[in-house]
Amino acid sequence: MKKVLLIISIILILILLFISQIIKQEKIRGKIISISYNNNIIIINLENNQTPIIIFTSQLLNIKKGENITAFGNFENYKNQPQFIADKIISHQTK
């Protein structure tokens, strides 16, 4: 019984890891060098990263210049320029 359960657990964990790789969102991490708000679109530029992060929201974000963030979303092309459409932003700084 123990062995059967252990094998089932391993197989299911492998399946979940596989699923997480297939449908997982991309992420970008870095230090914010600029944030601009424009008609429900927020554009964030990170240090050492050419791709701007775009967020479609009417809310103000709880982050500021100089903070380290991780953005979760997907890369897209707009007018032949790559951009990162973020669904979620996590800040790694408390100050």
Partner: protein, 408 residues
């Protein structure tokens, strides 16, 4: 002039009555969420958020959220101790709680968490100003060292096992499961993960063993004051970290604290109760001071309003009043459970809870959540059958947290 004064008084009474009503509604919501297995205040706060926006006076919404979250931290040990059905903050309470239940002392186990929660209110009020001064100064140091501390704790956990290799396998598998669960974009990933690892696996075991619950004794608790001091001290040091560092929750804090110093089963329950309440209380203060939300309740308040110092005073008063109401309420509910738990077939109760947990997992986390729930249950059962301590299943949170904080 007289009329103006009368109108002002009338408006004041109207606001006061509204505040009292929202306070009581918060207590009611916290009680229901606490008693329902697997339901966490983060989930309730997210579900009720549209309702909060519709409340005209934001202070009423703040009071509702605070009283709900606080009451929940007192009540939510009842299902984890009596029914082996925890939420994400009380998962570690299942194991010692179940041992107390099988000996007829479940009420005492609840009282121990209650001592912890009551202490936590005092601890929160004392330590918050200190941490506000200290944490920003040592933040970057702790940020760099956190992953190494967690690695040390993981090794420490495994070193205490007799079957070290099996424990390491379970710990690492739990870590992979945690990584997969947190990387799959589903709602509330911790719900299927932790209820599976700690709740449903214990329930299946109870069903399989046809566990019979002895008559529960409702007696006063006998604990030395010195025994209370140790968990209180550990809570004061460790739990505020959870309010500052993302990814650290009550369960990780409990593991860190219990690794630092050896605790008896009673002390561990006090520790769990106090950490749970401190994390919630301090998170409101953290929101005010550094505008970061580390709990679902604080995040809900953040969405509604920018906190001012006046709001913080309301929150502190609500924390104190909600605790004063929650203590007798928890004792009353625990006594009710203690008197009635052995009147019903525990196997039947376990089956009902198991079905309930499965349904809420599907509702809130979907079918991928169900897959996580099944996997976590299977791994939880492996830990039970191989007699590996289930704290090793916390690898599911420790390994992802270590990866987040690794300085690479």
């Amino acid at each position: 002039m007289h009329n103006k004064k009368y109108n002002r008084y009338k408006a004041f009474y109207k606001i006061m009555i509204e505040i009292i009503i929202f306070f009581l509604l918060g207590i009611l919501a916290g009680t229901i969420a606490g008693l329902l297995p697997g339901i966490h205040t983060n989930l309730v706060s997210a579900l009720l958020l549209p309702l909060f926006f519709s409340i005209q006076n934001p202070v009423s919404a703040i009071i509702f959220i605070t009283s709900m979250a606080l009451t929940n931290t007192f009540i939510d040990f009842i299902p984890s101790i009596y029914l082996s059905a925890p939420d994400e903050d009380t998962a570690l309470g299942v194991m010692p709680g179940h041992k107390f239940l099988l000996r007829g002392y479940a009420h005492q186990a609840v009282l121990l968490t209650l001592i912890g929660s009551s202490l936590a209110v005092i601890i929160s009020l004392i330590i918050t100003p200190l941490f506000i001064l200290i944490i920003p100064k040592i933040y970057s140091f702790i940020n760099r060292m956190l992953s190494f501390l967690l690695i040390w704790i993981s090794i420490f956990l495994l070193s205490k096992e007799k079957q070290k290799i099996m424990a390491a396998i379970i710990f690492i598998l739990a870590g992979f499961l945690g990584l997969a669960s947190l990387n799959i974009p589903i709602n509330q990933p911790l719900l299927p993960l932790l209820t599976g690892l700690f709740g449903s696996s214990a329930l299946i075991c109870s069903i399989k063993q046809k566990t019979k619950i002895p008559e529960q004794k409702i007696s006063r608790i006998s604990i030395d004051k010195k025994q209370i001091l140790k968990p209180a001290f550990l809570t004061a040091i460790i739990s505020p970290l959870c309010s500052f560092f993302p990814g650290l929750g009550s369960s990780q804090a409990a593991i860190i604290a219990s690794s630092i110093s050896k605790l008896s089963r009673k002390q561990f329950l006090i520790l769990l109760g106090s950490i749970n309440t401190v994390v919630i209380s301090v998170s409101f203060i953290t929101l005010f001071l550094i505008n970061k939300s580390r709990t679902g309740a604080a995040a809900a308040i953040q969405q509604i309003i920018q906190l001012t110092s006046a709001h913080v005073i309301y929150i502190i008063i609500t924390i104190i009043l909600a605790s004063a109401v929650s203590i007798p309420l928890t004792i009353f509910l625990s006594k009710f459970f203690a008197k009635n738990i052995n009147k019903m077939s525990y196997t039947a109760i376990s089956i009902i809870i198991l079905i309930f947990l499965t349904i809420i997992t599907i509702i809130f986390s979907g079918f991928l959540g169900l897959l996580i729930f099944i996997t976590a249950t299977a791994l939880g059962l492996v830990a039970i059958f191989t007699q590996i301590r289930r704290t090793n299943l916390m690898g599911s949170l420790l390994i992802p947290t270590i990866i987040i904080y690794l300085p690479i």
